[in-house]
Amino acid sequence: MSGHDDEHDHDGHPHHDAPSNPYHGSNRSPERNEALAQRVARIEGLLTEKGLFNKATLDRIVEIYEHDLGPLNGAKVIARAWVDPDYKQRLLDNATAAIAELGFGGLQGEHLIVVENTPAIHNVVVCTLCSCYPWPVLGLPPTWYKDAAYRSRVVIDPRGVLADFGTAIDDDVEVRVWDSSAEVRYLVMPERPAGTENLSEDELTRLVERDAMIGVRKVVLA
């Protein structure tokens, strides 16, 4: 969904006081991108010549964050917790250690906490001040997570933001927003959908998408 399609909430009232941000990255012009590309290349050349880093290091960093880390890691953690009650307990008690059992950890994942969705509680994660996000289990955050619209509004109007994602939460469910203001990073354990009792751990892993581990969607059977 684009977000533009959902101009009204479930009562039929408009729930946005402003139009979409015209400066969103997807609206950037090719000319501006080209100017940025040239400027960044010039700066990379200068800082490399100055000895702050070399090209091989930059290439390796890009490779790691573009290909090695991503939400598949988090999905493996969630699927394991769904099939293994002992693992789930360890994950809720000490997520950093339990996630390290699966081989995941590192920068922006030094202090991990997993928060569990239940029929009575729905969790959703944000960083209102910048873009803090659990890199080792989710990779780098999507653009919307870093945009003003999400960062500003999800703390005051989480149900409205969830509606932007097509996610409806019953009035009697408590919505818990987690604002990542320190170096603690939060991962949501979504509810395991009904009808998945016979799925294998691998099949469950494929059901768990990034947005469900941020908490803006639920896991649904395809």
Partner: protein
Amino acid sequence: MNGIHDMGGLTNFGPVVHEASEPVFHEEWERRVFAMNMAGLAFIGPIDRARHAIERMNAVDYLTTSYYEHWLAGLLTLTREFGYVTAEELSTGRAAAPAQLPFPAPSTAEVESLLRSGLPASRAMAITPGFAIGSRVRARNLELRGHTRLVRYVRGKVGTITACHGCHVFPDTNAHDLGENPQPLYTVRFEASELWGSDVMRKDCVHIDLWESYLQPCEERGSQP
């Protein structure tokens, strides 16, 4: 500082724009800006200083540029302020003189090792936390200069401690070469009605991590300090 980056609670930025199957990076220059910040962290860090460099952007620029342009702005500010480059070199792209680096750049293997091992913010300290789980606390209302993680939307508000994470490096000093000053870090739960207005009936709450010096005891709900 009270900056535009501290935007929790504003409602005028329109709907969240979700992009299906979004790539990790949209443009090659974004890859390079990300990698330069990560590789350069040894020279421009700690991360608190890097965050503050972005917070110091002109507010209009902050709102009208994209995410990796923020990272680029922070990188340029800090490399210039540390004297690694001059404004003139940045505009021409040509080095007029070698950089006076405090140490050689870490190798690719060293950088990779850092990414994989991380940089824990926790410190083993002989400090007894001043607040117990379940304590009622009020987030202080302080005139803060420089970097802080005490968001405006909780200042003066009353919440409940739900967790203590031990002692963590204090960003407000660490960003400014004033030391790590580790102190107890807590998760504090604030009800939506406390944060946003007594007429808010929604069953919502915000959990946020706050350092001990951001907090003061509050024995009674709604009582003044």
